[in-house]
């Protein structure tokens, strides 16, 4: 069950990776990066809950906070432009 869930989660993370790779504009790439952050957080939480590593849940929470801050910071930076 644990292996199946993790493999399916990795398979789910392939389309955001493709959008991050080929996205025509900055906003498409940013959307893909935010979506990939969600998948990585879920993978950390699933590994922590299935294997019983409680410390990985704190890592997942910190990763979610840092991913949100990075998304908002890059969005604000791209909104301001080269000035």
């Amino acid at each position: 069950m644990r292996t199946a869930v993790l493999v399916t989660l990795v398979f789910t993370a392939l389309p955001p990776l493709g959008r991050l790779w080929v996205g025509p504009t900055l906003w498409d790439r940013l959307t893909g990066a935010a979506s990939l952050n969600v998948r990585v957080t879920l993978a950390l939480a699933a590994e922590a809950a299935f294997a019983g590593h409680g410390i990985l849940l704190d890592v997942a929470l910190a990763y979610a906070v840092l991913g949100f801050l990075g998304t908002v910071l890059v969005a604000r930076f791209g909104e301001r432009g080269q000035r």
Partner: protein, 94 residues
């Protein structure tokens, strides 16, 4: 059993959001598919984890993670959409 149903439906919703992110036409359509699919799929997945593995082991932090996703998903979506609109991206005309 119920936890497995929640886990599988969350994974399916994440996959459908990814397909929408890959196949839609403009930045706003992709943003909508990504936002809806990610938040719904993540909440369903974490509820499935809680239901499957019991409340006592890791329940509190998983609930904190659910609340974090619910509150910050629309914020990041709005930040990306506002940046795209200010920088001159316009939705497609039908």
């Amino acid at each position: 059993m119920t936890g497995s149903v929640f886990l599988i439906s969350g994974l399916a919703l994440l996959f459908l959001g990814g397909v929408g992110l890959l196949r839609f036409r403009g930045p706003y359509e992709r943003l909508q598919a990504s936002g809806v699919g990610d938040i719904g799929g993540a909440v369903l997945f974490l509820v499935g984890l809680i239901l499957r593995l019991g409340w006592s082991a890791t329940g509190g932090i998983l609930v904190a993670l659910i609340l974090f996703f619910v509150f910050t998903g629309p914020l990041s979506t709005h930040a990306i959409a506002k940046g795209a609109f200010v920088r001159g991206e316009r939705p497609h005309e039908e």
